[in-house]
Symmetry: C2
């Protein structure tokens, strides 16, 4: 009990479990919180309690929501026939920040992984197939990571959809602002294969 | 409002203000919290609320405490006549982890700094002088960082104590420009053993 007070000690232990924080940075963060009790610690305690109380998964797409249906699924103008399939809510946020997609999402909650015991049932794939029937879906855009698991999952979904809708995936290539010198061979060869006329 | 839900958005904003976290890592941390609602989010909300409600400064030394007097000041066996002066509670924790100091502490809450408008009054230096009178202090050990501000503060305190007690400082062994909180236990304990008169 180097930190003396049990409550402080416990908070440090919990903070150290956050991604990107270890025991040392957790101690610094907790001291910072205590110094900024009024503007940071108490508001954060309240925000966490509120999020814990109100946030759940959208029953339709798996996005975070405070109601049964998330704002994106509830917005009529987002029902344009396109569903973008992402691994995670973080990926949905990334897509939304880019402000170029006007359709709805389907959050898998991971990728198929024999190692982690994640099968189609765990990944909301049956729900995706249901949505093809009930919503008037014309295109499923697979926005999954360019990893082995991501691509395995993409192929599994494409097979499961069985040509009932158009299935596309994000283009692979040189990232905007990227320098060729820093890219891996796989990206360069994918970009070369997918080259197009200027 | 890329993150959709106001509560989630607000929590991300608050988390991004923690040292070591930016907007991106704050988003990751919040998603992690939501995934681990039962074991992480709710316990953390509660721990923060509890710390916010119960933790205050020890009236004697400035350490964190749940009572008027912290456990170290309250422990009779810690009243060995030595007071170790540190800048911050993080430094007190670092000293305690090294387990070589058996006396009490005095937490300044910073260093003298004309730039930040921190004078002796803001740094609990008058309280330290009071303690020299009321507690039977034989030695004041200045465990301040080996920075310009830390050493300026050390000399100011040594002058203010005016040979009423023995004043020592941690040995050079503390790397120049280094902060106490970042040192390993061995360095701290070597520096404490090799302390010398100012």
């Amino acid at each position: 009990m180097a930190e003396g007070e049990a409550g402080v000690e416990r908070l440090i232990e919990l903070m150290a479990k956050l991604p990107g924080l270890g025991p040392r940075s957790a101690r610094r963060a907790v001291l910072h919180l205590i110094k900024k009790r009024g503007v940071l610690l108490l508001p954060m305690a309240e925000a966490m309690a509120e999020v814990g109380r109100t946030i759940r998964e959208c029953l339709n797409c798996g996005n975070l929501a405070t109601a049964d249906i998330c704002p994106i699924c509830a917005a009529e103008k987002r029902g344009n026939g396109q569903i973008c399939v992402v691994e995670d809510v973080a990926d949905l946020w990334a897509m939304e920040r880019s402000q170029v997609f006007g359709g709805r999402y389907h959050v898998l909650g991971g990728t198929l992984s024999a190692l982690d015991g994640l099968g189609p049932e765990e990944l909301r794939i049956p729900q995706l197939l249901d949505r093809i029937e009930t919503e008037e879906v014309t295109e499923v855009i697979l926005a999954l990571g360019a990893t082995i698991d991501g691509q395995t999952t993409a192929h599994y979904i494409a097979d499961a959809l069985d040509e009932r809708v158009s299935v596309t995936s994000l283009a692979q290539g040189v990232p905007v602002g990227g320098e060729l010198d820093y890219l891996d061979d796989g990206t360069i060869s994918a970009a070369l294969r997918a080259r197009r006329a200027l």
